[in-house]
Amino acid sequence: MTDSLLTLIIFFPLLVTAVVLFLPNGKDLLIKEIALGATGVQLVLSVILFFSYDASLQPENWSNAFQFVERAKWISLYLGDYGWLQIDYFVGIDGISLLMICLSTFLLFVGVIASWNLSKNVKGYFILYLILSTSVVGCFAALDFFLFYVFFEFMLLPMFFLIGIWGGPRRGYASIKFFIYTLVGSLFILAVMIGLYLSVEDTSLADQTQEVVHSFSLVNMMDGGYITDGILTPGNATEFLGMNIRWIAFILLMVGFAIKLPAVPVHTWLPDAHVEAPTAISVLLAGLLLKIGGYGFFRIAYGIFPDAAVSLTYPIAIFGMISIVYGGLTAMAQNDLKRMIAYSSVSHMGFILLGLASFNVQGAGGALFQMVSHGFISGALFILAGVIYDRTGDRGIANFSGLAKAMPVFTGFVVVFFFASLGLPGLSGFVGEFLVFLGALGSDYLPKWIGIVSISGIVISAAYYLWALQRMFFGQFWTREKVWEQTMYDLTARELLLLIPLAILVVLLGIAPNVILGPVNNSIEFFVNQCFEQSQLYLAQ
């Protein structure tokens, strides 16, 4: 059963979508239950995956670093003088993607509950929702660049409609902006993909066909299965715009994934998308889609171009630092709660860039942990923002005050998650940041001042969170519209059901982070060492 587990996890929601398609439109509750069931099964499968993942594996190179590998011929065309085009359904996970899959299945499950009282054409919503879940999990497990790219693009479609149809007032603008922005990003990735495809060959198939069989498999690319005269082959350093071609490919990938991350200069789609997205969707958007960007750095940018990564650590760290500080500053200037949380996500994602740039085990581990913990925290924060929005249809920080009086339990959760997000030790936010700082200050690639300036990030995040907390929750109870005062009832059972597991997870990860970092540690160590060795190998050529 465990050999096809991964495919089952990826495509089970798609199966269920087929079932949902045939259901008549009216049966909202049934559709919701089916969706809950589907994501629930997916969650259970991923838990099985987590426990049957063998953490003691000490891989030597990328080809045997992955477990639960499934490979099947998908497309193989004979293109005349271009030799064989070989794309195969190649799926597998290592520690990093394992965590990402567990995070996404959990958040998808939570997302279904969060969108329980949805009324507008429920069937369409949940079909898109399940497609989204397939593509997200598929993206994390794909080991073939083409397959990764297909899932990467496939994710945009449902997201575009989910924001575009069920979103807030300015949803049209926001969804188009989101779509085009990420699409442009994926164009860069496509360019690099093709470049890589043409310069990597799959030796296993070559003997049958006596010609050069190019391949998309990431494992080949990472293990350096380059043909001698490929464009991106490390040795032949063709200059382009004054830089080694591999550097440019790496930069293109970084920009593509930085848009998704988002990093500062290209982040402006995130606040709009979040403000307009419905609650459950912005939970997914913050929890999962941002992690695809981060995962892309880990698996693709750093995996395939370690030499470029090593020599460009300085600028990447600078961007990471700017994201942290700049994201924090702009968050403070927002007056819409959801927009503030969106900007805080930009700031937290900056830690990932910084962690990766430090190029050591603590930094990479910190970046990975930050992704997981940010997934839970920002998911909860958006649910909380959604709670206010569902009750009053408005999220302005200035439009409320003294909510603690009216909704004490709600305020309790807000305090817990605000403090988790600003990095109070004992909650999961701190662990990620602490490891990233450890990595950034201890790394011998980065100057010390970058780490020190980013530490100011935790002060800024404390500032805007507490300021928002004070304006909205403390002081006399007042709401801008008199009618809202009646609707400000405290958390309902459903919302509690959402928030309690997230709170437990955040506290658990804060106290005992080794629960998830332990099993994954080998793959992080392997990832960093392998990147380092490969970079020395390539730089030597």
Binding site: K177, I180, Y181, P265, T268, W269, Y326, L329, T330, M332, A333, Q334, V361, Q362, G365, S401, G402, A404, K405, V415, F419, L424, P425, G426, F430, V431, F434, L435, F437, L438, L441, G442, G451, I452, I455, S456, I458, V459, A462, A463, L466, W467, L469, Q470, F473, F474, G475, Q476, A512, P513, N514, L517, G518, N521
Partner: protein
């Protein structure tokens, strides 16, 4: 030994447990949690009594980081102190908070604070220390902002937390540098290995400690912290939390470099002096005590800086008792004033006076603790302060830097003055109101009596003069072997007694009931001349913070504006043009506003319209154009090719 292994984690969990129990049931929350704390106190006593060599408990938290607690004599004693003071405060607040609606939340927060404070005291690994350090900061945030209804209090809580957060950022930086430079990551190892930290790491730790113990640049938050309920101020902002910084410095002092210790000494001395000056002209009863706490903390830190950390710990111990006593007494005064008439500010000394006969027990407690604070002989304050003064004097002689001793001695005098002033203003003079209130026996009187009594000298050492006579001295520092020259020097002894008496005398002369300044005091408002203003506004430290915040928010809104206007516009500019240009260009802009795509559409429409004009419906015209094109082709092939 195994008994200790069982008791130890229990001591750690009990406050949290009692807090939760208290938090859950609304009615008897404070009583229940105080029983829990009493039990915890009993266990702590056993622990202190039976402990001989340190116990260490450690487990792997993260790959390169592990989580560890250790208990040795010093923090066992301090844990006992925390338990004792928390119990007393809880008993006190049973009446103080009796008609406060959300008592359960108050108990839960108190329990959470005690838990995190004990955690801080017990933690051995630096990361664990940082974790509880921040939790203590958070619990103080929650407690200061307990009455969140009033915006002022929650703002004070936020500001307090922010200032702490800034200092904690440095502490975090220090912890990370310890990890990266490969120093020992736990107190026990640093003590054993004796590695010297580099200067910058030391400074980071010092700034962290200064932040928590409200030393020079960071002491603004303690006066703001007075916004919390008085029992909270007594517990947290007098006895326990603020001493965390002192405790940290005592722990890491073996690893600090010499110039770091000098920084500590000077920092402590300067803070002590400034706070003492600031306490001179305050009107709010709690503000005076807050500044005096800052000043006494300055003393302790000064003691560490000059190497007399036994005296500092002793001063920490005695200060906890008499300062808690002072605060609780002030609390009962405020409670009384509040009962009297809620309109006037219960904390303002100007509407107090002559409470001597009305609240006798409070008066005597306040009197004894106040005199202990001022350093009168035969009281605990004198002994511990004496130790620090001797240490600073000896240090001054050995290093030739006499600034620190001078400041220390001046502060001693000033302390006596402002506490004398306070006692006279609050308790003496004519009674401005008649209502007599009998303090509830148990809950208010007992803690006051206990604290007042503990400020007498014989609780702490037989010989009222010798600072080293402290009972616990042998217990705590037996292994270090008390350095002989710590014995009091006659000159220092006499100097400090003279200073204290003169301070009290001047205070009495100025503020005795019949003196015109005392009578004028009731109606006086803020001091006008420079010195008075500096003192009243606490050296304008809070104004300094506001300036930083204003600058900061300007930057923030600049960033917000920048983000909204420039980057967002830049992105929209590609599709939708929104950059504000002069109105004329604006009109042109309007055409581009509906985007490149529509623009394309309009172009093609234009071309379309032009082309269709050829294909007019009239057939003949079409024939005509047909022939014309034929003609053109003909000419082209014929003549041009």
């Amino acid at each position: 030994m195994t008994l200790l292994k069982i008791i130890w984690p229990l001591i750690f969990i009990i406050p949290l447990f009692s807090g939760i129990i208290g938090g859950l049931n609304h009615r008897q929350s404070l009583k229940l949690s105080s029983f829990g704390m009493a039990f915890g106190l009993f266990l702590a006593l056993i622990l202190v009594w039976m402990l001989d060599e340190p116990l260490i408990l450690e487990w792997k938290w993260l790959e390169s980081v592990n989580f560890g607690f250790s208990i040795d004599r010093l923090n066992a004693l301090l844990v006992l102190l925390v338990y004792l003071i928390t119990l007393l405060v809880q008993v006190f607040s049973i009446t103080y908070m009796e008609h406060d609606p959300d008592q359960d939340r108050y108990t839960a927060k108190l329990g959470f604070f005690a838990f995190s404070m004990i955690g801080l005291l017990m933690s051995n690994q630096l990361v664990t220390l940082f974790l509880f350090w921040e939790l203590v900061g958070m619990s103080s945030y929650l407690l200061i902002g307990f009455w969140y209804q009033e915006a002022g209090r929650s703002r004070a809580a936020r500001q307090a937390f922010m200032i702490n957060r800034v200092a904690d950022a440095f502490l975090l930086l220090g912890v990370i540098r310890v990890f990266n430079n490969g120093y020992a990551t736990s107190f026990t190892e640093t003590l054993a290995s004796g590695i010297q930290w580099d200067g910058f790491t030391g400074i980071c730790f010092i700034i962290g400690a200064f932040g928590k113990s409200a030393q020079f640049p960071f002491y603004g938050w303690l006066t703001k912290a007075m916004a919390g309920p008085t029992p909270v101020s007594a517990l947290i902002h007098a006895a326990t939390m603020v001493t965390a910084g002192v405790y940290l410095l005592v722990r890491i002092s073996p690893a600090l470099m010499d110039w770091n210790l000098q920084v500590i000494a000077i920092g402590g001395a300067v803070t002590a002096f400034m706070a003492a000056v600031a306490a001179l002209t305050q009107f709010d009863i709690k503000k005076v005590l807050a500044y005096s706490t800052i000043s006494q903390l300055g003393y302790m830190i000064l003691g560490i800086g000059v190497g007399a950390y036994q005296a500092s710990v002793f001063h920490l111990w005695t200060h906890a008792f008499f300062k808690a006593g002072l605060f609780l007494a002030a609390g009962s005064v405020i409670h009384y004033m509040h009962e009297l008439d809620a309109t006037k500010d219960p904390q303002d000394m100007r509407n107090m006076g002559g409470l001597q006969k009305i609240l006798p027990v409070t008066f005597y407690a306040f009197l004894i603790c106040g005199l202990a604070l001022s350093g009168l002989p035969f009281l605990s304050g004198f002994l511990s302060k004496e130790g620090i003064l001797t240490g600073s004097w000896l240090w001054g002689q050995s290093t030739g830097n006499y600034l620190v001793p001078i400041l220390a001695f001046c502060t001693a005098g000033l302390t006596a003055f402002y506490i004398g002033r306070q006692i006279l203003l609050v308790f003496f003079g004519e009674i401005s109101f008649a209502k007599k209130m009998v303090e509830p026996l148990v809950t208010i009187r007992v803690p006051l009596i206990f604290l007042a009594a503990s400020s007498l000298w014989f609780w702490n050492s037989i010989n009222p003069i010798d600072p080293l006579g402290w009972f616990w001295n042998g217990y705590l520092f037996a292994d270090l072997g008390a350095t002989s020259d710590q014995h009091s020097i006659l000159g220092v002894l006499i100097g400090s007694i003279v200073l204290t008496l003169s301070g009290l005398g001047v205070a009495y002369w100025l503020f005795r009931p019949e003196a015109e300044t005392a009578r004028g005091f009731k109606k006086s408002n803020e001091p006008v001349q420079l010195a008075g203003k500096i003192s009243f506004h606490g050296w304008y430290i809070e104004k300094f913070y506001d300036q930083i915040v204003r600058l900061f928010s300007k930057v923030v809104f600049g960033a917000g504006w920048f983000d909204k206007k420039v980057i967002d516009r830049f992105v929209d500019g590609v599709g939708v043009s929104g950059v504000v240009i002069a109105k004329v260009i604006g009109w042109f802009d309007q055409n581009v506003v509906d985007g490149l795509v529509n623009f394309m559409a309009s172009i093609s429409q234009l071309i379309g319209r032009f082309v269709t004009s050829f294909q007019s419906p009239k057939i003949q015209i079409q024939i005509g154009w047909l022939l014309l094109t034929l003609l053109v082709l003909l000419l082209w092939f014929q003549f041009l090719t």
